[in-house]
Each structure stands twice: as C-alpha cells, then as structure tokens.
Symmetry: C2
Subunit: 118 residues, 2 copies
Amino acid sequence: MIWLHIIADLKQVDFSKLDLDEKTLKDFISEQIKSVWLTELGSFYYTFNKKNEITCVVALAESHIAFHSWPEKSYISMDAFVCNFSRDNSEKLKKIYRNFINFFKPWEVDERFIERKS
Amino acid sequence: MIWLHIIADLKQVDFSKLDLDEKTLKDFISEQIKSVWLTELGSFYYTFNKKNEITCVVALAESHIAFHSWPEKSYISMDAFVCNFSRDNSEKLKKIYRNFINFFKPWEVDERFIERKS
C-alpha cells in the first residue's frame, strides 16, 4: 500500500505580517485536520523566546503533522504524513498542505511528495 | 544551511518478539535523544487497541521524531529531522536511527536521507 508524506520547506515567509502564537497555530492546524475529516489524537506545542518561533507535533489516527518556524531565517518546515488503511487520504493531505501555503504565503517553496510503502 | 531528515519504513518487523507499551517506547526514545545530547521539549504518545500498536510524536529543540507501529502489517514508520543551527547534528540523528534499526530489527528497510535547506 502506498502512503503519502509531504515534506515542505517554506522560505522567505514574511513573519512581520504574522502574529503567531500557540493558540492561533493550534486552532489553525486543528481546523485543517477537522475540515478533511482526519482524526487528531493529541499534540505538543512549544513557543521559543522569539516572537513567532513555535514548534509543534500533532499525532493523527492516520499518522502525523509537524511544524517548526524560524522567524530569523524567514523559514518554516512542514511535514505531513498519512496512511491509507480504510481509504485514500492523499487528497486530504494535499488540501491541508495547500491551505498551509495559502496561510503562510512563502515566496519560495521546496516541496517533496514522497510515496512510502508499508 | 543543510539539515538532515531521515524517513524510514521498517518492514517485516517481528512483533511477536516485542512487548511494546508506551512506557517502554518513551523510555527508549528519550534515552536515544539524551544519549546524543539533543533536547526533548515534549511529546505525545497514544496506544491503539491492538498490542504493540503505538503512535508518538516527539518535539525536539532541534525539530522532531515521529514513530508509528502497525503490528498487523509488521511495519513501523520512523521519521527524524534535525536542524543544525549551532552545530551539525546529522551524525547524532544517524546514530539514533541506527539504534532504532538495532532495536526493532526489521528484515527490510526503505530508508531515505533527505537534505532540507532553510
């Protein structure tokens, strides 16, 4: 069975236009997960000392999402992996990914769509 | 700056020889992180209904580790990503990865060492 893992490096993000705190990010990510009917099991969020510098890992019944922001590098790393046991979740993951891009508006993205096999 | 992300699909894992619960897995992963002087910020662990079926996400100051086991498929997915702001952490990540392989002893592994750029 083939499962999708998206690895994305969001570059030249304009953090001056963001006001990112744990609650905003948590609400955004949880909303994305709900909107495509994936299941969030739990998560861990952590805010560093600098404004907008947050890291989080989110466990899904279908695998995980990870997000790390580095404002001083204008950079965000995003990872999202879903398994497809009961149905193909790849399109759901791509939708979440597009919404991340629309939300954070990087000027440049390195994206990799990786097919994993169990 | 180039950062290492390891994506590994551990196949044909003999779960009959494992007795994996949240505490065992958490102790193992936390010990791996400490042994190479990386910094664990927090984590979320979840046990499904089947024996040995566990999912976890671990936030590091240097990024994250994610682990999901599917005993009925004899399969484990492992992800580990580290940034290298103050020093090159790639060798540390490779060491953790080798220890995962030694611990879970899959008969087959698909491993990808992905270079990410900020």
